[in-house]
Amino acid sequence: MGAKIGEIIRAGSRPTSLEALTGRVVAVDAQNTLYQFLSTIRQPDGTPLTDSAGRTTSHLSGLIYRTTHLVAKGLKLVFVFDGKPSELKAEVLKARAERRAEALRKWEEAKVLFPEEPEKSFKYAQASAKVDAAVVEDAKRLLTYLGVPCVQAAGEGEAQAAFLVQRGDAELVSSQDYDSLLFGAPVVVRNLTAAGAPRRKAALEVVELRAVEERLGLTREQLVDLAILVGTDFNPGVKGVGVKRALKLVKTQKQTQKQQTQKQQTQKQQHHALEELVENYELVRKIFLQPEVSETYELNWGAVEAERVKEFLCEEHDFSVERVSKVLEKISQTARQTRQKRIEQWF
């Protein structure tokens, strides 16, 4: 998922801690997070968690046990949900649906072929995970009961999340991939929603757009060009062009630009060259650089409605009353605790 330039961007990440994020407003890429929950919170043979009616509850489990861990640590979360996908994403979505169908078939096969070796079917089960409308509805309902605000994006959730940060309504974007940086988010934190998982392996890390720009010697526009060359959710990328080659291409274009005196002329030329290489170049570029966003949203962190959470999770979806009550108690304690301020507030 996302643009294929993760590797060179990740090189500029630095470790962080939950404590360093205390009191910060984090715009969470909901689609990405729910997908993580659905694909990882499973039984050993890959079967997702379900209630007695057979409905999947992996996403609810992730929200109630992991997300609340972050709330208890004093993070202020906002979940940003995808709006209408761009038409250019149709190819990617179709390919994903095919991969899911294939994974589902292989999973069924593996369950029959290797009943004694559940790990063989687990990866297929994971790949078959899908964030569907029911999952999104459930998540919004539970988050509302937990007092966590939800924002509906006009288009891409990550673009909306980046917009929240640009506007100053949030401080960082939480996502596993780096598209938010391309959408203009100044800081992205990875592995946040995995924090609080029982066997978490991945450490928390942050990536700053400015640091990436400085290290690679590229502007955000050029970073977008780079991503377009290697492939994004909205275009397949140029055949035979990997990250290294794309970096060279984008940089040489920068040089020609410097040599020319008439800037507009060059930009036109530059775009001209990329347009020849990439189908829909201008359209894809616009998705990243002038994304469609919603400006009418409200962020209110409400009180936890403990009774409604219990009703929804324990009565409707068979969660353990004891475990859920424990979590709710933990959050209500947090509400009474004091919060550590950061020094830069006085700079």
């Binding site: 360093a20 509400a335 004091t338 919060r339 550590q340 301020k341 950061r342 830069e344 006085w346 700079f347």
Partner: protein, 269 residues
Amino acid sequence: MFEAKIDLGVLRGCIEAITAVADEGRLRITEDGLKLRSVDPANVAMVSFELQSDAFDDFSLELAGAVETEKEGKGEEGKETSIGMDFVKLLGILGIGGRGGEEIELKLDEKGQKLFTRMGSLAYTISLLASDSLRKDPKVPELEFPAQVILEIEDFKRGIRAAEKIAENIVLGVDGESEEFFMEAEGEMDKLRLGLRKEQLIYLTPPAEKVRSLYSLDYLSAMSRGISACHAEQLTLNLGKDYPLQIDFEVADGRGKVSYLVAPRIESE
């Protein structure tokens, strides 16, 4: 080229005071001495440090072809360089050096990005951190404190030590009306209050109204240890209401100073 000699105990105290807040940082070397300003990784506290060149037994700085920067306000050309230092590592090295009264020689090889140190018969070469791997120097916060207290170090340390036994946080405040400085902590079972009236303090600027702020003992305990390491005698505390705390004290017999700043904890909204 930078070369200097200084009392080992003095330098060790200073570095220990820095490590109360920052594990690493950019140490500026100027003709006037050493300077540092660094924020802790969680952005809760800041340390500012200055050690004048006359605190050293020898101090020479010659920078051939180095960047010359305009000295603020004076209009003269000032020379300076900066090195990325792992203070925790340096403190460990100074710890094996020997007893107080001994001298340490420092020599910077700018090209190799190494600092040579010699303590008697022990020579130790420290690899410096790449300057670009360090965070940018923090800005100077603009603060106006309604209350100021100058007190004996021992009084402050006693308050911190007592609070550590029962709580994670401590309140520091000044009651303008009764002209009293107080430290308070509350644990699950126990409560603690240390009150010092004006005559028990060295100096007090009482605020118009009562001010108090809550601070994490994680930070104040570390700072208290840093203060002890420098053998300072008195502390200046600058306070406000739900406001940062600034702690100033002198090092190297007044030829240097350390200033800590720590952000408060506040009741959650």
